[in-house]
């Protein structure tokens, strides 16, 4: 019984998070300006981190946490660097 409940909840969560990633990608493609694309990329990163966490629940293995943590870190650094780039036009000055 509990396995069935969990299975449907996980499937629904996977669908919703994948849809969220697709919508974030849509915002990245549509723009209209560079800051919108960076915001879309940041949301994409957060959503993929959540998706990895749900994969971890589904498989029952803790290896996905490390992946989620790395995705979160990379997303943070990438967004900060891109925001810096938007503000100054160059990252290293």
């Amino acid at each position: 019984m509990s396995a069935i409940i969990l299975y449907y909840a996980l499937t629904a969560a996977h669908v919703m998070l994948s849809l969220a990633m697709a919508l974030a990608l849509l915002r990245m493609i549509r723009g209209p300006r560079a800051q919108d694309r960076v915001l879309g990329l940041d949301t994409l990163y957060v959503n993929s981190m959540l998706l990895l966490l749900t994969f971890g629940i589904g498989s029952g293995r803790t290896i996905y946490f490390e992946a989620a943590l790395i995705i979160g870190l990379l997303g943070f650094v990438a967004t900060v660097a891109l925001a810096k780039f938007l503000m100054r036009g160059e990252v290293i000055e």
Binding site: L10, A24, V38, T54, G60, T79
Partner: protein, 129 residues
């Protein structure tokens, strides 16, 4: 799904509820990202996914691993703290970059650099033209 079978019913319901709450909030936040009109409005949308969206999924994961492995799991708390601390930084930097770009183009929708009562007006980033 190997460990899911020996999960008690209450735990399965709690995990599913938090999972659905978190992913639904993340999805609604991203829908807002596509539907809202201006950049500054869209800036609010991802915080849905990073506040209780992440909170819900992290809670679900914590309950699941605490119950199935019969030991407390702390990695998720780290992810939660990490997301809570980093999101404001990224959003603030993005907002400042957007403000800077809009002011450099003299976009009328954006308020000028807040300089009331100071003599900073001459090197305000908005004074480009």
């Amino acid at each position: 799904m190997s460990q899911a079978a020996d999960l008690p019913l209450w735990a399965a319901i709690a995990v599913s509820a938090f999972l659905l709450l978190g992913s639904a909030l993340a999805l609604i936040g991203t829908i807002g990202l596509t539907r809202l009109q201006s950049f500054y409005e869209r800036l609010h949308a991802p915080t849905l996914g990073t506040s209780w969206g992440t909170g819900g999924v992290v809670m679900a994961s914590m309950i699941f691993f605490t119950v199935t492995e019969a030991r407390p799991v702390f990695q998720e708390i780290l992810i939660g703290i990490f997301v809570t601390v980093t999101t404001p930084v990224t959003l603030m930097l993005l907002a400042q970059a957007a403000l800077h770009r809009d002011r450099a183009e003299a976009n009328p929708e954006v308020p000028p650099w807040a300089t009331a009562g100071t003599d900073l007006e001459k090197d305000a980033p908005g004074a480009v033209d």
